[in-house]
């Protein structure tokens, strides 16, 4: 097991290197210049632009630029083109902002999708199953940003309360409990909307997984033993149906970086997604690169975690 993890880690480091080189090349291939050296800015003189370009190493060959980037990243001195702030500090702060949104929407997805999926599977073909299928497909088909706008408009016009950002502005003078609950309220709408698609998809998986397991021989045997229906479903069937979902846990992790670009932008939530989006718009190469590599790293860790979890959960699989 340990040997497997060690070998895999090594492989993933090599993979990460390849990915980072690819991303670096891709970003520099894309058209556009960092906004700080935009030649159409009339306030900038050519010699100033030349100086800034030199300071950013923009005129050096690509492999050198890659080298500088790795060097600065490792030394922790990598700075954003846009505001000269250390990139790692920036990412860490945004990561902390994204985390509650991520946790809350994941909680909503996983707590809601399972009951819905299981019930739909148990009552296959009944009204609940049909209507949940209909709603799930409707949610999958509607674009998230459209629903978000509808939700924002509805909540603001009907309930007259703010929904955007991480908290209500101007609440600094209020009591602590109010401020905490205000933050919770601001989590509700974006995480709910970010979760809707997830609920729809995951509940469909749970349903089909349950259906498959319920038709297995051992479930029939359990029923034949005369066990109560709940015990058959929740003890014998559900446990086996859960195994594939354990692997999904690991794959959730990279969603931290890229999963919420749309919702963070619409709700002005200062998280990683928004950071990446804005960095791309202003061609802030150090931030885009680091964020992408961070995302790649999380993906690689995620797949490793899910492999390992799978091995632990399912005795039929042995990692070697």
């Amino acid at each position: 097991m340990l040997a497997y993890i060690g070998r895999n880690l090594l492989l993933r480091v090599v993979l990460l290197f390849i990915v980072s080189v690819l991303i670096h090349g891709l970003i520099h291939l894309a058209p556009g210049e960092p906004s700080a050296v935009d030649p159409s800015n009339p306030r900038m003189k050519p010699e100033d632009i030349a100086k800034i370009r030199a300071a950013f190493h923009l005129d050096d060959p690509l492999y050198l630029q890659y080298g500088y980037w790795v060097r600065d990243l490792v030394q922790g001195e990598l700075k954003s083109f846009k505001d000269n702030q250390p990139v790692l500090g920036k990412i860490w702060r945004r990561f902390l902002n994204s985390l509650p949104l991520f946790i809350c929407s994941t909680l909503i997805v996983w707590t809601l999708a399972f009951p819905v999926g299981i019930q739909a599977a148990i009552r296959r073909g009944a009204v609940f199953d049909r209507s949940s299928t209909f709603v799930a497909y409707a949610l999958i088909s509607f674009p998230g940003f459209f629903l978000s706008y509808i939700a924002i408009l509805g909540v603001v016009e009907i309930f007259q309360v703010p929904v955007i950002g991480m908290r209500t502005f101007g609440m600094e003078g209020a009591a602590g409990s109010f401020r905490f609950m205000d933050r919770v309220w601001h989590l509700v709408i974006p995480s709910l909307l970010a979760a809707l698609g997830g609920i729809a998809v995951l509940s469909r998986y749970v349903r089909s997984q349950m259906l498959e397991v319920v038709s297995q021989d051992y479930v029939r045997t359990a029923r034949a033993k005369g066990l109560p229906n709940d015990t058959v479903i929740y003890r014998h069937a559900l446990r086996n149906a859960l195994i594939p979902f354990i692997t999904m846990f690991g794959l959730l992790i990279p969603g931290l970086v890229g999963g919420s670009v749309i919702f963070e932008t619409i709700f002005a939530w200062p998280g990683l997604g928004l950071l990446g989006y804005e960095a791309i718009l202003s061609r802030d190469f150090p931030v885009i690169l680091t964020l992408n590599v961070f995302g790649a790293m999380l993906t690689l860790i995620g797949t490793l975690v899910s492999d390992v979890l799978y091995g632990i959960a399912d005795p039929r699989i042995r990692l070697e």
Partner: protein
């Protein structure tokens, strides 16, 4: 079954917990209950985050908004856009004029020029009646002895790889004796008026060769480059305008340090320091030197006549004690930077730009990137503290989101678009304002094209368009008709110039009289060629796109064939505008407050990459443009700008369309607070100044608990 119960309860609990939080959040109507501080907090929406909070480095609107509250300049503009003292209480403009004693020249009567001769002749002449106005302006005349100057001159040479390379050469120049005149007032015609004494051609043919020492072994190409610059570097006759500022005493920076003349000098030097890469360098380039007279008096001497240069002093003043070499050294120590980082360390790298300290009405508290910037009022502000205690700039990139937050009461102000403003007009909860700003839109014709060479043609094209349609349908009424190149809210704009009438028949008649005739297809034709051209604009601006369509349709009615195209901004500039490869463009300008139009309209600025891309060329206008930027008397300046406005209106190089109105929507509870000596408050409705500035009295704004009746 425990698991079954859990599967049911967990989502239920989570949902209940999340949804109950709604009851803790204040609604719009009750936003001050339990939170009275909300009334003294102003929250402004911004679509972009600030980049650098330093008055000498910022170049974006979000940064300048914050910088404007935190920092203060020596001057600013009052309600009528005249200069007003802030950190400076008074300022006086005078001049020192220098004239070479040009020994190779002769006086009109044939005698040789010497220093004493020159000064005696001028003194004698000044006693005559015809020179009385000149004599009144002269405070003092002196002769300066010759001196030897060494100076670095920039040039381009061929590098080893054959590409041109920028470099510098040190030369020495034997400055001849000079007569220096101290003048009470700047006079751009000073030397012209002296001509009868010194001779009409005194300023020409100075033998620079005899006064120049070049380093050994210099290449002949570089020598020619140096010679070309000499007349500008060491002019025979030189104007040095001087501004003496008297600084306000007792002003403090937010950290308690007292503001004095050192801060002004430091700010100037910081801008000119090439390491800081300040985008303001060109505004301060005309300055020759800044001289400290005493702790609160400073003299600024300029290299040449350039009256708009004084406007640069509206820029915020930096605190020297926090940014000088010593402070920078301390910061580097504290941050434990590597040697490489230290070598490159400049003001741009300083943490000051993230946590600025100025002397303005608000002091900096906190900046969360892409979220908000928080300021709090400066209690010791010299004009008294502002009414709003807290100021937030929230960063919300999406305009829709901004509007939603405004409705929910989490924003007090946002960039409302014209169509939104018209929606608020019917809502009793809000007050709204529309006022003139510094921008305008136009259709520019490439004056170099034979088709547009005749002003009458351009006039006819303008007459065929109904500008009222643009304002009514594209701007929802939030625009005003304009007739010339100056912003309508400034005194430089001549309101007496009548706009072109909307008269398609008249337009057709003008073109017919120029030899155009309608052909069988209904198009105007001359010498077998149809009146046809391309009208282009940049992508991403729906209003401009619509202007093109309306104009195209209007011109079609008089038989002019216009094809329209939209290009991506970079392509639009690179392939069409910068190279002048276009027929006509729809564009807009955002102008400054000064009357200098050199870059936009002078014929010397019509080259590639320059701003007079329509190629406007009229010697009369050129002369006015130069004289306006050299004139220091506002009244005379105004007369000349009105002349220029009329001239450009006659030439119609553009069809001037409209100036869009700046709009703002505020809650009606926000009012202007006036206090008498005893501290009693009276309230007034917020109003824009004559110049169109709605936020001019911002420091007196506050939100009341109830909607007042005015």
């Amino acid at each position: 079954m425990r698991l079954k119960r859990w599967l049911l309860f967990a989502p239920l609990l989570l949902t209940v917990f999340l949804l109950q939080s709604y009851f803790w959040v204040p609604t719009y109507e009750h936003q001050a209950t339990g939170n009275p501080k909300r009334l003294v907090t102003y929250i402004q929406g911004s679509s972009g985050d600030a980049k650098v909070l330093n008055p000498i480095l910022n170049a974006d609107s979000a940064s300048s908004n914050i910088v404007g509250h935190v920092f203060e300049g020596l001057l600013d503009l009052d309600a009528d856009l005249n200069l007003r003292g802030r950190l400076a209480t008074e300022w006086a403009i005078s001049e020192k004029a220098y004239l070479f004693v040009s020994a190779s020249n002769r006086f009109p009567d044939g005698t040789e020029v010497t220093g004493t001769q020159l000064i005696n002749r001028i003194r004698a002449a000044l006693k005559e009646k015809s020179f009385s106005t000149l004599a009144k302006n002269i405070k003092d005349i002196q002769v300066l002895p010759p001196e030897k100057l060494t100076q670095k001159i920039s040039m381009t040479e061929k590098g080893e790889d054959g590409k041109p390379k920028r470099g510098e050469v040190e030369i020495s120049f034997n400055m001849p004796a000079r007569v220096v005149f101290s003048l009470h007032q700047v006079d751009q015609d000073f030397f012209t008026q002296l001509m009868p004494v010194i001779g009409d051609r005194y300023l020409e043919n100075f033998p620079y060769d005899q006064h120049l020492n070049l380093p050994e072994g210099i290449q002949p190409e570089i020598e020619t480059q140096i010679h070309a610059q000499l007349a500008d570097l060491f002019p025979v006759a030189e104007h040095n305008p001087i501004i003496d500022f008297q600084l306000r005493k007792g002003v403090r920076f937010h950290d308690g340090h007292e503001f004095d003349v050192g801060d002004v000098k430091f700010t100037y030097e910081a801008i000119m320091n090439p390491k800081n890469l300040s985008p303001r360098t060109s505004d301060f380039e005309p300055i020759k030197f800044v001289k400290v007279l005493d702790t609160h008096r400073v003299r600024v001497v300029y290299k040449r006549l350039f009256s708009p240069a004084i406007n640069a002093w509206m820029m915020g003043i930096l605190p020297e004690h926090l940014l000088n070499a010593e402070a920078m050294q301390q910061e580097m120590e504290k941050r434990e930077l590597s040697d490489a980082a230290r070598a490159a360390f400049g003001m741009r790298d300083s943490q000051f730009n993230r946590a600025p300290v100025g002397s303005g009405s608000y002091q900096f508290v906190e900046w969360q990137s892409d979220e908000f910037i928080h300021l709090t009022r400066f209690e010791q502000y010299w004009e008294g503290p502002a009414e709003y205690h807290e100021f937030f700039m929230r960063i919300i990139p999406d305009l829709f989101t901004q509007e939603v937050e405004f409705h929910a009461g989490a924003l007090d102000d946002y960039g409302a678009q014209p169509h939104q403003v018209s929606r608020y007009r019917e809502d009793a909860q809000y007050q709204n304002f529309s006022s003139l700003g510094f921008g305008y839109s136009y259709i520019g014709y490439n004056n170099r094209r034979p088709l547009f060479a005749d002003p009458e043609v351009r006039k006819a094209l303008g007459m065929a368009i109904n500008v009222g349609d643009f304002i009514k349908y594209l701007l929802y009424g939030e625009g005003e008709r304009i007739t010339g190149p100056y912003p309508k809210n400034t005194q430089w704009y001549d309101p007496s110039v009548p706009p072109l009438p909307y008269d398609p028949e008249g337009a057709k008649a003008i073109l017919m009289s120029l030899g155009w005739t309608l052909n069988a297809d209904g198009w105007l034709e001359k010498d077998g060629k149809v009146f046809e051209f391309n009208l282009i604009t940049n992508n991403g601006n729906p209003i401009r796109k619509n202007i093109m369509t309306i104009a195209q349709n209007a011109w079609k009615k008089i038989g002019v064939k216009c094809n329209t195209q939209v290009f991506e901004w970079a392509v639009f500039l690179k392939d069409f505008v910068n190279t002048a490869q276009f027929d006509a463009v729809v564009l807009g300008w955002s102008m400054g407050v000064d009357p200098d139009l050199f870059q936009l309209w002078h014929s010397s600025e019509a080259g590639p990459q320059q701003l007079n891309f329509v190629g406007y060329n009229n010697p009369k206008s050129d002369d006015l443009i130069v004289r306006i930027r050299q004139e220091y008397d506002v009244k005379r300046q105004r007369e000349m700008t009105h002349q220029l406005h009329q001239q450009i209106h006659e030439d119609q190089p553009y069809t001037f369309l409209y100036a869009p109105l700046g709009t703002k929507v505020l809650d009606k509870k926000i009012v202007l607070v006036q206090r008498d000596e005893d501290g009693n408050e009276t309230y007034e409705k917020i109003y824009p100044t004559k110049s169109g500035n709605i936020e001019f009295y911002f420091n007196k704004w506050r939100k009341l608990e109830m909607t007042p009746d005015f």
